[in-house]
Each structure stands twice: as structure tokens, then as C-alpha cells.
């Protein structure tokens, strides 16, 4: 269909899920006020969670979840071959997410504990980029639909895609949220990448760093602050290790 004699170009989008909770996929169906417009801007050719249509002719693959079994590696590689653009959607796809926490345990032991003498196939949980090239990363647990919309606007209309350089801390200031440190709580807001609009501190929970590091965070100053406020090494370690975005620090 032409609009002002310009051909309307709908990117053919497919959504795939691996190891995770599928919460990021659910965000695609959220933000109801723009849902109709969002779905009109793309051509959804494969999205198993909401559609029984199965197309394999897609340009953009949105990948949700981490990789934790050999068959997932094969499926992911096939998707990479087909997709012109592969987007890692959410902290599991970008960093391994909370599912990575199992890697700290002996997997045979873990299997015995959960499944007794009937173990199931599993391997250490890894991020998508560990196996295939990733074109765009949209972190968050879950992802922020605004950010997904900006990715789509970028792909459909070539609008520039800006990523946030500054930390969550600034978004708390923008919405007048009282600092969680001032409430006596630990918060990774000073070092975590913004773009979520800081819902956790506003809801009464210090940041757990699901979006990974901001650009050039001042770690030295942050660690000094954490120590000065009386938090232990273990508390800090637990938090930095939670979503996998700060893996390089541990």
C-alpha cells in the first residue's frame, strides 16, 4: 500500500523463545494504548506464544530467553541464518539473566536434587551472543515496551536509535523518587544503564541491575559509597551477580 506515493515497508518480524519466563514476549502485547498501531507497523510472521501461523520468511528475529540445552543452540543458529537483524530481547537473552545463577552449582547434583534418578538434559546457561552474532541488545527484566517500540521505529522508518548512556539514578531524579540509599537500602541505580524509567526504586525496591552497566560507570566511587553506607561485600556480590549484566566485575 502506498502512502504519499511511498511504499509502506513492513518489516517481517518473528519472535522466538528459549530458556526463560516469556515475560519479555508478554511485554510486546502490553502498552495497550499503542498496541494497535504497534501491530500495524510490523508484519508478525512467527510468534508461537500468540499465533499458530508459522512463517519462516522473516527479516527481524526478536529472541527471548537464554540458551541452556544443545537443541536450543541448533534452533538459534538456524534463526541467525534466516534473520537479517537479530535482537536479543531481555536480560536472559543479553546476559543469561537469573537463569545463569544455576551455573554456580554442580549441574549433576542439581539434576539429582530436582529429578532424582531421572536426570534431564541441561548445560550451563549462556547469553545468546555466546553462540551467534547479535545485532541489537535490549536488556531489562522485563524489557520496557517503549524501548521495543523505538527499535521498531528504527527498523521501519530509520529513526535514529539512541541507547541510554547515563544510569538509572538520573531517571529516579527525573521522577522525584527518594533515593533508596537514603532509605537505608542498597541500590545499583548509580551504575546501571537507564531506559527503564526506574520503576523499582519508585515502587520501594532498590535497583538490582537488570539492564547491566551504564556507559563508563564510576565503579570506584560506587564501591566506596556502598562501603561507607555499611553494606557487606556479600550483599554487593549477591546483587551484582543476580541478572548477569555485571559478570565482568565478579
Amino acid at each position: 500500500m502506498d502512502h504519499l506515493r511511498i511504499e509502506k515497508k513492513l518489516p517481517r518480524v518473528a519472535v522466538f523463545d528459549f530458556t526463560g519466563c516469556e515475560g519479555c514476549e508478554l511485554q510486546l502485547a502490553n502498552k495497550e494504548e499503542t498496541l494497535g498501531a504497534f501491530l500495524s507497523a510490523i508484519d508478525v510472521v512467527h510468534f508461537r506464544e500468540v499465533s499458530s501461523a508459522e512463517g519462516d520468511d522473516y527479516d527481524v528475529a526478536l529472541v527471548d530467553g537464554a540458551i541452556s540445552r544443545p537443541d536450543e543452540v541448533e534452533r538459534l543458529k538456524a534463526i541467525r541464518q534466516q534473520a537479517k537483524v537479530l535482537v536479543a530481547m531481555g536480560s536472559c537473552a543479553c546476559f543469561g539473566g537469573v537463569n545463569r545463577l544455576k551455573n554456580a552449582y554442580d549441574l549433576q547434583e542439581a539434576n539429582r536434587e530436582v529429578y532424582g534418578d531421572c536426570p534431564k538434559e541441561t548445560m550451563p546457561t549462556q547469553a545468546v551472543k555466546h553462540f551467534v552474532a547479535v545485532d541489537l541488545e535490549v536488556p531489562g527484566c522485563p524489557v520496557n515496551k517503549d524501548e521495543i517500540e523505538r527499535v521498531v521505529q528504527h527498523l521501519v522508518w530509520d529513526l535514529p536509535l539512541c541507547t541510554f548512556a547515563y544510569p538509572v539514578c538520573l531517571q529516579c531524579k527525573q521522577r522525584f523518587t527518594v533515593c533508596r540509599f537514603d532509605m537505608g537500602e542498597l541500590c545499583l541505580g548509580p551504575i546501571t544503564r537507564a531506559g527503564c524509567n526506574a520503576p523499582c526504586p519508585a515502587g520501594g525496591l532498590g535497583c538490582w541491575g537488570c539492564r547491566g552497566p551504564a556507559k563508563n560507570p564510576n565503579y570506584q566511587e560506587f564501591f566506596a559509597l556502598v562501603k561507607e553506607k555499611g553494606f557487606t561485600e556479600r550483599e554487593l556480590h549477591d546483587r551484582l551477580g543476580f541478572f548477569g549484566g555485571f559478570e565482568d566485575l565478579l
Binding site: 523463545d17 528459549f18 530458556t19 526463560g20 519466563c21 516469556e22 515475560g23 519479555c24 514476549e25 508478554l26 511485554q27 502485547a29 502490553n30 495497550e32 494504548e33 498496541l35 494497535g36 501491530l39 500495524s40 508478525v44 510468534f47 508461537r48 506464544e49 500468540v50 499465533s51 499458530s52 501461523a53 508459522e54 541452556s68 540445552r69 536450543e72 539473566g97 537469573v98 537463569n99 545463577l101 544455576k102 552449582y105 542439581a110 539434576n111 536434587e113 530436582v114 529429578y115 532424582g116 531421572c118 534431564k120 541441561t122 546457561t125 527484566c141 522485563p142 520503576p199 523499582c200 519508585a202 515502587g203 520501594g204 525496591l205 538490582w208 550483599e235 549477591d238 543476580f242
Partner: protein, 432 residues
């Protein structure tokens, strides 16, 4: 041999669905009918296991609810609620009354969100002959707008009360971290009133859907509604007459591992049982809001109903219940004014259980803590884990009933898929 038997003997059918669409997670259906005999009928879960019970070990109690919310993207509020309840039980904490009301309100928001998502986006396309609800925005824009408004309302309730709709932040051990202000509650009230009218329209819309005529006698398990239609904590009840306290959840679930599935299976008085909206209504019909009971009438939904496809209707009826009950809660919260919402929490060594009715049925979290408030042992029993064996045995009975002359592979595949979808399975949850 009679003519009908003879014609039945010529029926050969094959259904092989890998990664069923329009359900959360990865499951396969396999049905084979040879010469009129069902030789195979399977529901298998192939989702990757994540080992949450292992990941929970050694975690501080403040992290348990944040971690276990990630078991499920759809019912994260339910997981968080079961988690903090188990911890509060272990530490002997009683939460303030206003916090309990806020938690129930958040729960209602999630129930509405999940049921609307399932009814309009996952189940309705089967009844309309569409691959998904996406074309609905062009072929029936009013219905699409209706679904979007109801889902938007549900998400608004969760955002306002729990801080976020997926992976809540304000539900914490001891109570709630935040009380919405009166202005926000008044706005919520206006939204809920609009929601009541939208639900009337939704009921009209779903009255046209044809429920397959299929019955298999089933045991249904849920919380027992003693004073109200129960969602958070209390005694456990089955339609076969088993009743236990919350702490004895293992007696009600009896999890076991099978060779073919990454999800466990459960049983109680029979080879399998069912949980979910239909189970809750079968057990607690008389505790439903009068408006919800009225909504059940045109669909002939009354206890004990043994048609699993009626779970769709049961979800619709629960939508009515949770919207009207949310109005009550919002009014009470506005009337209460500022009130304590967080109790003092002192960790201690011990064990606790939390049972919560999440959209797909009863969920249990069970933690053992050391005296530093770190998890020593954890166990989570998920609604879909409890339903998987029942879906499996339903499929066999369904195939036996419908493997008659005139049946095709396509028609049987649709019926089997609709049966599984009626349970609204949350498969990644069931494996966790």
C-alpha cells in the same frame, strides 16, 4: 458387528503437534488412532528446565521473591505472593491488614490480566477460525479495543499496586513497600467501573463460542473458600473430599518424575487431578460475587462441572468476580486512609509454606531458612505441573470420543489443541 462399529474400525487418524502455539512454553501433542482404536495419546512437556529450587539455595530472604517472580512472566505477582507468604510463615510474621488488601488487589489485577490475555488472545482465535488475535484489529476492531481496554485496566491495577505488572517490586516480606495515594485509587475506581461495563460486552461476545461437548470425571483441587472466594492462603480442598491445612500441600500434590517430561506429574485420589479457574468455581461457587454467579448462568456453569473446555467460561466468570471485588477493595482502601503496610521482620531458622491461587490454579512455595535468613531448601509446586497429567489423560478420552467416522486429522488436531489451551498451561512455569 454393527454398522457403526464397522465404520469406526476404518477410522485412522494422526495428530503430531510439536511446540503447540498460543500457549506459554513448549509442549507437544501426539495422538494416533489405528482402525478406530486410540493407540497413542500423549501430552509431553519438552521445556528446558531452569532449576529454580537449586538457584534459591543460599539466597537471602529479600531476594527469594524477586528471583521466583522470574519463574513466570505471566503470573509473576502470584509467584512473588506465594514466596513472601512462605517466608512470612517461616519467620512468624503477620502482615498489616491494609497490606493484605493491597496484595489481594494486586492478585486480582494479575488474574484479570492473565484471563483476558488467555480468553481473547490465546483461546478466542480457535472459536473465530483465526491463527491469532492480531487480525481481530481489522476484522472486529470493537472486540480488539475491548480486549485492549480490559488488559490495560488489569495492567494498570498491577502497576499502581505492585509497582510493575510483570515482575512486581512493591510486594516484599512483611507487607507492601508502597501505598497508592487517594487520587490514584479514585482513578483506578473509575477504570474498574468502566471495566464492569466492558465485561458485560465480553460476556455477550463469548456467548457465541461453541464449547465442545466433552466430559471426563475429574478431581478438582483448590483453596477452600471459608469466608470469601479464596485466593491467598487457607485450607486446601478437593472435590473428592480431601481437605488439608496449607502446610500439608505435599499430601495434595504427590509430585513424581516421568521419563518423557521435563515437568513433573501429580496425583491425589485418582491417576490425575485438575486445578485452575474451573476447580476454584467447582469448590467455591457460592463464595463468588453475585454478579459473577449471574454471569455463569447463561453458560450453564454450575458445580461440579467436569468439562475441561468450560475452564474458558470459568475464567470469564472470575474476571467478573475480580473486577467487582477490586471495586470493594479500592473503596475500603480509600476509606481506611493512611495505615501501616509493613510489619517488622526478624529472620529465624524455620520452615514455611505459602499457597496462592494464581490464574492457572493453586501454587505452593515451601522454604526452609537458616538463622541468617538464607534459604537452605526450597520447593515450588506449580499449577500447570499439577494439570499436566490430567491434560494427558483428557487427551486420550477426547480422542476415544471423537475418533469416529468423518473425523479428520485437522479437526482432531484443532480439538486436541483447544483442549490443551483450555487449561491455559504455563509450561515454562511448570518446569521452572
Amino acid at each position: 458387528m454393527s454398522i457403526s462399529e464397522e465404520s469406526r474400525n476404518r477410522v485412522n487418524l494422526n495428530v503430531d503437534v510439536r511446540h503447540l502455539a498460543r500457549v506459554e512454553g513448549h509442549g507437544n501433542i501426539k495422538v494416533r488412532v489405528v482402525d478406530g482404536q486410540v493407540v497413542e495419546a500423549r501430552w509431553d512437556i519438552v521445556e528446558t528446565p531452569r532449576f529454580f529450587e537449586v538457584m534459591l539455595k543460599d539466597k537471602h530472604y529479600t531476594a527469594a521473591g524477586i528471583l521466583t517472580a522470574r519463574i513466570c512472566g505471566i503470573c509473576s505477582i502470584g509467584h512473588c505472593l506465594a514466596s513472601v507468604r512462605a517466608t512470612e510463615d517461616a519467620f512468624g510474621v503477620t502482615i498489616p491488614e491494609a497490606a493484605a488488601k493491597l496484595r489481594l488487589l494486586a492478585k486480582h489485577g494479575e488474574t484479570l490480566q492473565s484471563h483476558v490475555l488467555h480468553l481473547f488472545f490465546l483461546a478466542a482465535p480457535d472459536f473465530l477460525g483465526l491463527p491469532s488475535a492480531i487480525p481481530l484489529k481489522d476484522v472486529n476492531p470493537e472486540a480488539f479495543a475491548l480486549a485492549a481496554r480490559l488488559k490495560g485496566l488489569a495492567n494498570r491495577v498491577c502497576d499502581v499496586v505492585a509497582g510493575r505488572t510483570t515482575h512486581p517490586v512493591s510486594i516484599q516480606v512483611g507487607g507492601m513497600a508502597k501505598m497508592p495515594d487517594v487520587q490514584t485509587l479514585l482513578e483506578l475506581k473509575a477504570g474498574l467501573e468502566r471495566g464492569c461495563r466492558d465485561l458485560d460486552a465480553a460476556i455477550e461476545l463469548f456467548r457465541t463460542m461453541e464449547i465442545p461437548d466433552f466430559v471426563r470425571e475429574t478431581e478438582f483441587v483448590s483453596l477452600k473458600g471459608e469466608r470469601e472466594y479464596a485466593f491467598i492462603g487457607g485450607r486446601l480442598l478437593s472435590t473428592d473430599g480431601v481437605e488439608r491445612p496449607e502446610a500439608s500441600y505435599r499430601v495434595m500434590t504427590n509430585e513424581y518424575v516421568t521419563e518423557e517430561n521435563t515437568s513433573k506429574w501429580c496425583k491425589l485420589s485418582r491417576e490425575s487431578f485438575a486445578v485452575g479457574a474451573l476447580a476454584r468455581i467447582n469448590n467455591n461457587y457460592h463464595r463468588l460475587h453475585p454478579k459473577a454467579r449471574a454471569a455463569a448462568v447463561p453458560f450453564d456453569l454450575a458445580p461440579i462441572n467436569h468439562n475441561p473446555f468450560m475452564n474458558n467460561v470459568a475464567q470469564l466468570v472470575e474476571c467478573v468476580h475480580v473486577v467487582y471485588d477490586s471495586l470493594r477493595l479500592v473503596d475500603e482502601l480509600i476509606g481506611t486512609g493512611p495505615a501501616p503496610i509493613m510489619a517488622e521482620v526478624t529472620p529465624r531458622a524455620g520452615q514455611g509454606v505459602g499457597a496462592v491461587e494464581v490464574p492457572r490454579g493453586i501454587l505452593y512455595h515451601d522454604y526452609e531458612y537458616d538463622d541468617q535468613g538464607r534459604v537452605v531448601r526450597a520447593n515450588c509446586v506449580i499449577p500447570t505441573t499439577q494439570n499436566n497429567a490430567n491434560i494427558h489423560f483428557d487427551l486420550k478420552a477426547l480422542a476415544e470420543q471423537f475418533a469416529t467416522e468423518g473425523m479428520t486429522d485437522e479437526k482432531l488436531e484443532l480439538l486436541c489443541s483447544m483442549l490443551v489451551r483450555a487449561y491455559d498451561p504455563c509450561i515454562s512455569c511448570s518446569v521452572h
